[in-house]
Each structure stands twice: as structure tokens, then as C-alpha cells.
Amino acid sequence: MHMEKEKSWGDWIYELDNPEKNREKPEALDHITVLDVSYANMAGCFATSTLAEFGATVIRIEPPGGDPARTFTPWGYLHKDTGLGYLNEGRNKFHVTLDLESEEGREIFLKLAKRADVVVETFLPGTMDEWGIGYRQLKELNPGLIYCALYTYGQFGPKAACGKADVDVVDQAYSGVVSVSGEPVFDPDNPKPSEVPTKQGNWMGWYAGGAWAAVSILAAIHYRHNTGKGQFIDVSPAEAYGRCINYGITYYYGFKETIPRVGNYDVGVFPYTYFRCKDGFAFLSGFADPNWKALCTIINRPDLQEQFPTIFERLNVDNMKIMYKEIEKWTMAHTYDEIFDAVMDYNKNIGEGVVVPGRISSPMDTMKAENWWVRMALETIDDPHYGEVTIANHAHKMTESPPRVKWVCRPVGADNYYVYAKMLGYGPKRLEELKEKGVI
């Protein structure tokens, strides 16, 4: 014990949470069974990937032809018949097929749901209910069931019945985030097509929706642990992503204005942005008074600190443009490495106030940076069906029950034999019959 205390914090915790040891440790959710009937929707798939990475048994139910989400892939690129977006979110799941539009398919689903802990679905609201396999029907068979439905407009409210489809780009637009992202128009007489509200490049709406679904499902699992009661959860990916907004509604309520689009500036913090440098782009910050002073010291411009001494001067957009130009004079005279070293040297040796430096990395450079591999943020795993693949792991390193990826995905219906035998006792003969009828 005494010896242990002498270790540095970093060494001590590394020994306990080193992700190389993940696979030797127990799993947090290995007592939970999830049925995922997401359809053409990566929010549902991400929610259940997350649960599966933490150890839940996830049975991914697709229609016999496969989920259309299997074709969500850049320019149609397929790897062994599977689109890359889907391939990334098939993690640790068992993949079965079942035709929920057939009577027999629904009966089989009821049997599975009777013994499941969680159901996740993404159909238009009321679809599962109409099929007789919605929460209303399932809770009678399984009162402890946690049932999570994801849809842009949710399960109630004036727009819930509108019938519009849930697509990531739409979730992003409705969330409000797009309205404050992207370049402002530089010259109003000649606006560029790119100077418009702009979405995130990834499926950020769907990912936020899936994350909120996972949080709510886990909170409901805790509540069920205490009370035995299940419940219904309604998640809109648009609202889930909209909850990530800095201050849209309150700003409008308080000041009757909307937050403008200011490109890579930030209306609440300056300096806090990307600057051009000799060989790329550097991020620099210095918002709070001591940090601003530190930045002005590093770039040897005490005059700037005198001219813009408080946040009230620094949060004026016209002043931002002036300060930006002045700071950029310094960054343009240096390479990224020189900037990084100058800042870190100041932080270490003078250290009054902190300036935070960073680089705009292309995803290819990110993939080449050693840090992410050492930390297993990125990992190349050997999948039994899909071969060698590179994936990003969940960020959590945990001492007792860390998440992990065991396999990356499965082909359509690949686990029919295993899952139906294990859950329902169906052998090859019965499965052959169901296959002939098109149920699986």
C-alpha cells in the first residue's frame, strides 16, 4: 500500500484502466438483453451499439432483405456487401431477420420481447402499435420492459403525426445547431454558395439521438432495478442534438435576437479560434483575463491587452476582427510546431494564465497520430467475417467494467440459427419452414 502511494497518478491509474486489459474484465450490462428493430436509422443502431459495447446482448432484427441502413455508405462503397456506416455500428450484435409485416413474424417477435429487457425501434410513430407489437401490447406481457422509440418529431405533440421521415440531415436542421454553424456572408452583394448554415459532416443528429437514448435506457434500467417497473421512452434525435446548443432559446427570450452565424469565431469567447500559420492552421485561445494576458505576452503584444482589457471589449464582433488580424500576423510568421512549442513553453515556465494550442488535423493525420493508438481510441481488429478493420472505440477507459468491441458486424441473418435456437428452441427444420414462408 505504501509503495503504491508513491507512484505518480498517471502510472497508478494506467495500471488499473489500461484498455489493453479490457477483455479480461467483466462487463457492465451482460445481464441485459436488447431487441433492436431500428429501420433505416443510425440513431437506433448507435444506441444499441453503445449498449452492446458495454456488454448487453443485442439482437438486431432486420427485415429478410436486410435493413436499408446497410446501404448508407460513401458513394455506394461496400465491404463484403455491407455499407461502411452500418458496418461501424454492427458491433457485438447478433443479426437475425424477421418479417414484422407477417403475422407469424409478429408472433415470434412477441415471444422474444416477452423475455427481453429493452426494445429499441425507429419506425414512424404508431407503426409497431398497429402491428400489435408496440409498447401498449408488450407491457402486458412484460411489465419490466423498457421500450425506446426514436423519431424526429417524437411520439406525441402537434407534429408527431406529420408522417415526415427521420433522416440525419433533417434532425440536424431542426435541432437548431445548423443555424449557428457555417461561414457568414462576407460580401452581401456576392454571397458564395458555401456561406450558408452548415451541418456537421458526420451523422451528428443521429449520434446525439442514439446517445440520449442510451442514457435514458440506462437510467430506466436503474429505476427498474429499484422498483421492478419498466417504461416507455420517446427520444427525438433533433431535440437530443438541440439540447447541445449553447444558448439559443434563452438568448431569443431574453434579447429578442437570434445567435448569428460567425464561422469559426465564438460569440461567447474570444480569442478562441483557428488561425492560419505557415504550414496549416493553429487553434489558440485566451479568453479569461489572465489567459488573454498570457497570449499577449507570448506574441509580445502587450498593447493588445491594454486595448481590449476585459471580456466586454473582447466579445464585440468588430473588435474580434481587429484582434484576429493582429494575432494572425504572429501566427503567419511561425510554423505550427513553433507556435505549439512557444505556448507550451510559456505554460510550463511562466504559467501565469494558460493558452491552449491545437492543430486542425485531417482525419488521415488523426489516424496516423500515435496518441490515439496508444490510448486505443483507434484500434484495428480482426473480425471473423469482415477481416481486418479500423474502428474508433468508445472513449471510456474503466477500471472494473470497460466497454469493448468483440466483432464489428454480422451479415444479414447470420445469427438466425444461434439466436432462434437459444431463445426459442427452433432447430434447422423449423427455420427452413420459416425461411420458405419468407418470415426470416
Binding site: Y77, K159, V169, A220, Q231, I259, I360, M367
Partner: protein, 447 residues
Amino acid sequence: MAREEYFKWAESLLDPSKTFDKPEALADIKIVELCTLILGPSLPSYLSELGATVFKVELPGMGDTMRSLTPFAKFFNGAALGWLKEARNKYHLAIDVRVPEGVELFKELVKRADVVVENLRAGTMDRWGIGYRQLREINPGLIYIALNGFGQWGPYLERPSYDAIAQSESGMAWISGFPDQLPMKAGIWLADYYGGLVGAVGVLAALAYRDKTGKGQFIEYSQAENLMRAMDWTWLYQHFTGKMRERYGNRDVSICPADIVPDKDGQMVAIGAATDQQFQGLCQAMGKPELAQDPRFATHLERLKEENAVELLSMIRAWVAEKTYAEIDELAGKYGFGAHKVANGKDHFEDEHLRARNFTYYVDDPIYGELYEEGIAPKLSETPGRIKWAGKPVGFDNEYVLKRFLGLKTKKIKYLKEKNVIGKWVDVPPGRKPPEGWDGKSGVLLV
């Protein structure tokens, strides 16, 4: 008819007006927060909406830097809007944890808590004697999460970080924005808010594990790594093709059609069809049902091919340019494709749908008055989320928490105040003290 009945049922099941008649999922969970800015504070804020009791510990006087963060330095009733967003439902304590008596108070809180959330530099808490190494000795069931830019060990250990660094170093900024513009930082603190959210998944998974085994644990969490996990097909694409993922503006190159284009009035509208059925609907709405049979567009894999996608998206752009958003909206509902205009804070404030769903949430706060906020994202039928109050000035709840939860005597509390172990707000800079015109007692617990 069946659908109508479903919506009635769903509305009665999830009715937000019944929220305060129902229990809370995390009512038995206590969280101690020693955090600044957003990445750390957002996590307990999310869990507080689901019922957790959160003790936010700040340093006396200035408190959290976040209390300064507000657009254009405009404060709402004395509160910074950035801070207000994450201050909800918390008990606000100011304890100087850098002195031994402050450390003792902090430990007494942690003894009674289930979760500790911190986002200081790696090793700071350990140095102060209140890191996981020390706290697990006094509370073995403790779940402790440390969030920051790059984690507790590894090559980037020395590097400080911010939201924008996580956005840029992960590659997320690079893949966002238009090809002819700089890589784009999201207009929100994405790595912070989304970081706190996925961080909460880890805390709740650890809670599920503790419910089974009684064991607590430490969770280490890097916000940059979290964004990398959300970058969908990026890593697989680069792995298989050796090509780099670039930025493609508002077009989604993995779902076609999906884009954001101007309508007749210049309003930007997102349009998307993710399945053949949705696409057929869109073609009908466009008055071109034959497009869905055209071999270039008949299947999703065909539509995704570059030249077909460009062709199709330009047809859609031309079609939307002739319609108003109201027309598009109606057609999208009728034909089942996806469409929504780019909504802003005003749209959210005025949106009856979002109000009915408690996303646009009305708070009548005893200190900061009436306000509206981005409210509750998930709707839970048995244990709905809620906002109880908007936030408190620095050290506002000291007396109440020390008395109720730690059982300290009035005399002891007075002593701690005199020794500056606990304290309250300073008047300057703004954002720390109660608003102008505060009556000196509204919102005070145990007056």
C-alpha cells in the same frame, strides 16, 4: 383511426403536465461535481434532469469561469447564458478545496455520494488529496469520472484542451464545412455537450454494474476520443480505400438524397430520403414519379454514385427553389420523405410542438425570474425529466447543504465562513452574485 388512438395513448402516457406527479429515475443518486466550463458540468446537469441530486462545488468568490460565458457579454438578469444552461437543478456550494478543512468537507460530501465528476487537469485532484486514489478508500462504491481533452495518461498528457481542440484534433472539423472554406468548427461547444452526454453513458453503465456487484470504479474520458467514436464511416473508409475523408458541405455523400438547399424565399431547407420508399415519395411530390424507376436512381447504391447524386441533387435544388417551405413541409408529410427548415432560437421558442414536448422549457425561477431554455430531450413515461430551478449564485446553498446533508452545527458553519473555507459570491466580475433587485431571501433554503 388506429394511429389517432395511438397518439392519444402516447400523449396521455407521456403528458408533460403530469411530470411532477411522477417519480425520478435517479432520485437515489447523489453526485459531487468539481468542474469548470461545460464538458464536466454538463454531465451532472443531464443526470440532474433525470433526478440525481447534484452538489456543484466551486471556489468561493469567482466560482466557475463559465459564469462569465455569455454571447456578446450580455447577461440575463445577472446570469451568463452559457452558465445558465448547465446550472439547472444543482445545489451550488463554494468550498476552498485547496485548504485542509475544505478537503475534509469535500470528503464528507463524497462519503455520502454515489458519483464524483471532475474535469481538472490530470492529477490535480490526486495532488489535492481528493483524487480517486484517496476517495475510493473512504467510499469503495464510488463511481468517479474524470473528463478532459486527452485523458489521464499517454503522449498528450501535458496538453491542456478545449472543446475546439477536440473538434480539430479528432478530425471532426476537417470533415465539416464546404470544400472551398476552412474546416468548420460547430457553432456550439459540441465536444463539450456531446462529451458530457456520452460520459453520462459510462457513469450509468458503471451504476448498472454497481447495482449488480456493489463495486464502484474509475472512468477516464477524453472528449477528443469521444468525437472520433461519432465520426461514423470515416475510419473504415480510410482503412479500406487509403483515401482521406474530406468535407462535402451540406450534402451527405453516404445517403442520397440528403442536402440543405434554399427555398423560394431563401429559407434553407433540409431534404432527405433514406429509403427507396421515401425516395419514391419525394419523386411523386416533385411530380416526377418516373425518376424512381430511372436506372440511375432506382436503388440507393445507384443514387449514391457521384454523377447520379450530383444530377439528382441539382434537380431537387431546382425544385425546392420554386416552392415555399410551407409547401415542402406539407408534401413531405403527405409523401413521407424528410424535410425541415433550418431552425433557430426564435423558431424553437415559437414552436408549439417543442413547447408541448418540454424541449422548449419554461422555468419560473425564484432568483433569476421567468425564462425559457432548451429543456428535456428524452421523454420517459414513468420517470420524466424536469427542471426544478435554473441555477444559483456562488455558494448560495452552503448553509442548507452543510446542515442537511453533512449535519454541521450552525456554529461550525459560521466558523468555516470566518476562516474562508466556505464562502459566497464576489460582485465583480458579473455572473456571480444574485441579480439586481433580488430581495435577499427568494430562493434561499433554510432561511
